[in-house]
Subunit: 385 residues, 2 copies
DNA sequence: AACGTAATCGCAAACGTTACCGATACATAA
DNA sequence: TTATGTATCGGTAACGTTTGCGATTACGTT
C-alpha cells in the first residue's frame, strides 16, 4: 500500500529495516532507500513567547520591514501606519529582542567590566562612575567579578567574549601572571581599557590614580610628622599599582636620606588575611617600625586592629597611613590617614576611553594612559599631638 | 542596448527617470517599470569578525552541523572528526556566539539582578552569594543598579527584558510605588524573586531576613539594658522591610509595657542624608530619647556621628542599635550593636529559587517566602558599663 | 548475495531583526 | 497627456547556531 517515493509503484517496494525507530523502505526498481516523511503537524506558533515584530506585522497586515522602520522612525514610512504600529506595539507590550538585533548588527551595545571583588567600596564606586557614562551613551554594562582568582578571570573573559561585548574594562586579579586571555581582545580588535590594577608592557589604554605621587605624599607626610623607621606593607609585586606605590615610598625616603630597609618592606596581596600575618610580623620585630605605610586601607585597618590588640598606641608609637579612603577610614579610632583616589572618576575616565575606541575615534592606535590625581586625607592615625 | 527585463526587447525600451539615484527604465510593450539590478560584487566575507562555526567547517571541509555536534559532543560524530574540529577550534580561537545560541534556543542562561545601590556592603554581598549559586548552575548574572530611582529601575527591567533574561532577582528602590514593570515578568512567565526589599501583595517568591525577629531582639536588648525612651528611625513605609522592623520595635515595647510614642517614630529612606536630618531632630527634642533603634547601619552611624558632635555620650546617655552589620559597625567608636543579616545566604537562597523556577520544578505556582534568621551582634553602642 | 542496522554527516528550516532593493501608486512637471 | 519624482511598502538575504531528518557508507547477518 505504500508507494515508492520515486516511481510511485507499490509492488516493487519492501521494508528495509529501521532507522532511528522509523520504518525504512526500499524500492527494488529504483534501488532507492527512504523513510516516510513524518506527518508534519504544521506546528502552530509556539505557545508562549515574547511578542515579536512579526506578531505586530501580522496583526496589522503589514510586513515586518515596515514595522521595523516604524520602530526606528525611518523616513520611509507613513505617519499613520507608524502610529498604528506604535500603538499596537504598546498594546502587545512589545520588547525588542536585543539578541536578534545584536546578531544582525554584530554590535551588542554592551561593555563588560571585570573587577577583582566588590566587597570594598573601591570597585563599586568605579562601576557606578563607568555605568553613568556608558548608560548615557546607550551602552549597557556587564559586570563580572573574578574574586581575585585567575581561573574565574579567564572564565569571565570567555563569557564576555561569548556575549560579544563591544568593549571591556579590566582591573586584574592579583593572581594573574598570564595575560593571554586579554590579548585575545586585542587580537579581535575589541577595545580594552585597564584601570587601577594594570601591568606594564601591555600596549593598551590605562586609567590609574597617581599611585606614585600618592604614596610619595603619604610617606613624606609621615616623615614630616617625625616618623623615621617607616615600613611598607605592599601589594603583589607584579602589579604596577604595587610597584608605583613602593616607588613613591622609596623616593620619599630617599628625599629625606632615610634608608629603605629590606626587612621593613613586605609584599602582601591586598587581603586583610595576609595583612594580619605580615602586620603581626612587623610589629613583633625586635626593632619594630614606628610607622607603616600600607598599600591599601584593608591592610591599614588590620594593622590598626593589631596595634590595638597589642597595646601599641596610634599615632604616638605607631603612625599608619593607608590607601583608597575606605569609608571605614573615617570611623576607625581617631580616623585613618589615607590616600583618597577619585574612584568614580576612574570609572568615568575608563568608560570614556572605551567609548572613544568603540566609536573608532582613534587614528593610529597609541596606548594612552590617564593618570588621575590622588589626594592625601590626614586623620588621626598619623599625627602626633 | 538595454533589453527589457521581461520581453527582452530593446526597441520598446525607454529611460524613465531616476529612483534612488539609479536609472529607471520603462518597456512600452510590457508596460513595465524596472531598474537594472546592481552588479552584485559578491562581497567576500567581511574582513574582521570573530571566528564562527562556519569558518571551522570551511577550513575542514565539513558542514557546520557537524562542527556544532562536535562542539557539544553529540553522539552522531566520529571521534577523529571531533578531534580535528576541536583542534581547529582551538587554533582559530573560536568562541561560541552566545547571541545566536540564545536566539535559537530562546534561552539566554542569564538571570538579571536589580539592586538599589552597591555602595553599602549589603547588596554586593548578596550578589556574591547569588553569583556563586548561579555560576555553578551555568548561568550568568546581569547586574543592574537602580540607584534608588524608580525611573532607572523601570529602564533596568526594560533592558533585562530586551536581553531576554531567563529569570530575575529584585530588591526594589525605595521610590517605587508602581509595580507594573515587574508584573510584566509574571505575565511573560519569567521567574521572578524578590529579596530584602519586598512589598506585600505581589504573588511571587520572596527571600527576606527575619526583620521582625531581628528588630524585636534588638529593641528587647535595649530595654534589658535599661533604656526606656527608645526611638525608631525607620525606613520608607511602603516597604515590607520597614514595616516588619517597625512591627518588631512595637511588639518589643508592648511586651515590656512601654508606650510607642508617635513623636519617637520617624520614617526615613535608608540614606545617611535623611538620617542626619531626622537624627538631629530626635536628639534636639526637648525630651530626647535615651536610645535609638535605626532601620539600618548607615542611619545608625549617622546618629553616632551626630551624638559625638553634640557631646552626647554613647552608650551612657544614648543607646544605638543598627541593622545589617556593615563593616563600619565593627570599627566605629566602641562598636555599633547591630542586627546581622545572612547576606550571602539571601543571595544564595534567592538564586536557588529562580533556578528552581527556571527548571520548571514548580507544580502549581504557590508563592513561597523564605525567611532567614537575623542575629543580634552586641557591641559597645548599647551596653552601659 | 541480499538484507538489516549502526555510524556519520549534510540540508535546511528555524530564532527575531535589519537593511538593501525592487516595486508600486500617486503627485508633479513638461 | 506623458515622462519623472516621491512616498511607502514588501521581499529577502543575511547574522551564527541548533536540530530533525534524510542520505550515504560500512559492516555484520542470514
Amino acid at each position: 500500500m505504500i508507494p515508492c517515493a520515486k516511481c510511485k509503484k507499490v509492488e516493487t517496494l519492501m521494508k528495509a529495516g529501521f532507522v532511528r525507530g522509523k520504518q525504512r523502505y526500499y524500492c527494488k526498481k529504483c534501488d532507492y532507500y527512504f523513510t516516510l516523511p513524518s506527518t508534519d503537524k504544521k506546528t502552530e506558533r509556539r505557545k508562549r513567547h515574547q511578542t515579536t515584530i512579526i506578531d505586530i506585522a501580522q496583526e496589522l497586515g503589514v510586513s515586518n520591514s515596515t514595522v521595523s522602520r516604524a520602530l526606528h522612525n525611518h523616513p520611509d514610512i507613513n505617519a499613520e501606519t507608524r502610529k498604528a504600529i506604535l500603538d499596537k506595539a504598546q498594546e502587545l507590550d512589545y520588547q525588542p529582542n536585543q539578541l536578534a538585533h545584536s546578531l544582525v548588527k554584530s554590535r551588542t551595545n554592551t561593555v563588560g567590566i571585570i573587577v577583582p571583588e566588590f566587597l570594598t567600596q573601591f570597585f563599586p564606586n568605579v562601576i557606578v562612575g563607568a555605568q553613568l557614562i556608558l548608560r548615557q551613551a546607550g551602552y549597557n554594562l556587564m559586570i563580572m567579578q573574578s574574586g581575585e582568582s585567575y581561573e574565574t578571570e579567564v572564565a569571565n573573559t570567555k563569557a564576555l567574549l561569548a556575549n560579544r561585548v563591544d568593549g571591556l574594562l579590566v582591573s586584574m586579579s592579583h593572581e594573574t601572571n598570564n595575560y593571554d586571555h586579554f590579548r585575545t581582545f586585542e587580537k579581535k580588535d575589541i577595545p580594552l581599557v585597564y584601570f587601577n590594577r594594570v601591568i606594564e608592557g601591555l600596549g593598551t589604554h590605562k586609567v590609574v590614580a597617581d599611585d606614585f605621587q600618592g604614596a610619595f605624599t603619604a610617606v613624606e607626610h609621615l616623615i614630616q610628622n617625625g616618623y623615621r623607621r617607616i615600613a611598607h606593607l605592599g601589594g603583589p609585586p607584579n602589579l604596577l599599582i604595587s610597584q608605583e606605590r613602593e616607588r613613591g615610598y622609596r623616593e620619599a625616603l630617599k628625599k629625606y636620606n632615610l634608608p629603605a630597609l629590606p626587612e621593613l618592606i613586605i609584599h602582601g596581596d591586598f587581603t586583610a588575611q595576609k595583612a594580619a600575618i605580615y602586620g603581626k610580623h612587623l610589629l613583633d620585630l625586635s626593632e619594630p617600625p614606628d610607622a607603616i605605610f600600607a598599600v591599601n586601607d584593608p591592610t591599614a585597618i588590620e594593622i590598626l586592629t593589631l596595634a590595638k590588640a597589642k597595646g601599641v598606641r596610634v599615632p604616638e608609637e605607631l603612625g599608619v597611613v593607608g590607601f583608597s579612603d575606605d569609608p571605614i577610614a573615617l570611623y576607625i579610632g581617631n580616623g585613618l590617614t589615607t590616600v583618597k583616589q577619585p574612584t568614580a572618576q576612574i570609572g568615568e575616565a575608563a568608560a570614556a576611553m572605551v567609548l572613544g575606541m568603540m566609536r573608532g575615534e582613534e587614528e593610529a592606535f597609541t596606548p594612552k594612559t590617564t593618570v588621575l590625581e590622588a589626594e592625601l586625607v590626614v586623620r588621626g592615625s598619623s599625627v602626633r599631638k
